[in-house]
Amino acid sequence: MLDKRMTIDDVVAQLSDGMTVGIGGWATRRKPMALVRAILRSGLKDLTVVSYGGPDIGLLAAEKRIRKLVFSFVSLDHYPLDPHFRAARQAGLEVLELDEGMFHLGLRAAAMRVPFLPTRIGAGTDIIRQPAFRTVRSPYEDGEELIAVPALKLDAALLHVHRSDQRGNVLTLSPDPLFDELMARAADKVYVSAEKVVPTAELDMRANARFNLCERSLITGVAEAPFGAHPTSADPDYQLDLKHLKAYVDSASSAEAWAAYRASFVELPPEHYLEAVGGPDRIAALPKPVY
């Protein structure tokens, strides 16, 4: 029987140095943070990371695992600027900076297996003066000069979902599915961490089909990771942990502060993480933040 279950450390063992890795979610929403912490515990490095960035980027940047960042923002929402990201960027971290929608088109192009998709996004800006960009002339009567957004092909995508069965039929139950589907389609391999791995019948797919992110043929591996998006949210199961986010922000204040954060929340067996951040009951009871 098809069984894609593995541990989060198994997932990271499938990745290798220098890969282009897409990280799902958006800023402080549904980030596969348990997988990101597993990357930090591993030696994985020189990654090209593609992300609608949140604390995933700050953590990887703080540990210098990113060779190149493909992004359009890194935001913690309630703390608009991520100090770890800022420090890395100001030290010269290589980036490809995209418009948010351009990012979407790049993933879409990869998903469609075409080299680029045309758009007006970027016209008149410094975005298209980055060396990655070319323009293309419409072959029709209008002759408009358009931006050719290059395909953002991913070696692997890391996503966090609410439910999965062992075959990789997944549900993302949050009100906004974000762009995880495109990430999955743009990637050669897709690994999901899931709040719960359940029998297929429990997915209640007849009622929940609209929450089915993509077909299981795209999913390579499924790792159960309860509260695996913490400190980001996996609404409706749990909300953003503002208190922990503050600890994360404060950990950028000095090398010692970062070492202490790392020791407390990263360098520990994943099964001990939940207790370290206050236990599952506390996280499950976090109030919904106001945007």
């Binding site: 923002f73 990201f85 979407h104 016209a123 002759g143 009100p175 974000l178 945007y291």
Partner: protein
Amino acid sequence: MTTPNYSLAELVIVAAAEAWRHDGEVMATGIGPLPRLGTALAKTTFNPALQTTDGECFYTSEPVPPGPRGDREPEIEGWSPYDRVFSTLWGGKRHAMVAPVQIDRFGQTNISVIGDHAKPKSAMLGARGFPGNSVHHPNSFFFASHTTRAFVPGEVDFVCSAGYNPARYLNGKPPAGLDLRIIVTELAVLDFGAPDHAIRVVSLHPGVTFEQVQDNTGFPLVRPDHIPTTPAPTAEQLDLIARLDPNGVRKTVFKDNPPGDRRAA
């Protein structure tokens, strides 16, 4: 008739609301409390067709107040996940008022970096949706601090949103959807209505002079022969604003919540 007392924040909200007066049924996005309250005021007065969101992924029937909502759950009237926001904005049915860090004489703005892009002096958010917004739907701007650091000479450090800059036009043509509307600041309201879309002063806030605005702007502004005073909020508008912002978030935007009429200070 006596003019009611009003704050600078309230004056700005009323001026910002004007951005959406003639837009009809579009998505109105105001980034930051005052532009957001501007959308709310426009929606509850002269343009009820506007669609506004809860700041997450739902359209609400009534504007959602900034800050805590208590037990009051807004009525949801539609869905606006990010994917649909892009679809909407690419289709042009949106008008956003955003708060950039820098703007230049072309209306180009920056929220990405201060300094060199490869190794910035200060890394900020990243370009976000600015490039796409700027060439697909109308855009307006809000600056809480009108200074030469924000209104820069030359070009902004990293052009995130397109402006009326022929040197950057592709194939010699301005981007098809480029439509910059108004700039609301602590000092004045400006627009792009002068020849070649140059920035001009539309109205001066009470007690502010043209020279004061020009001195705080890093490029020459167009000075019309007659510059009206930015209209003071009416008593009805002040009452509405108080209801749209029950938490008083507007009072925290400017230091010490100053009066809107500097002559009264």
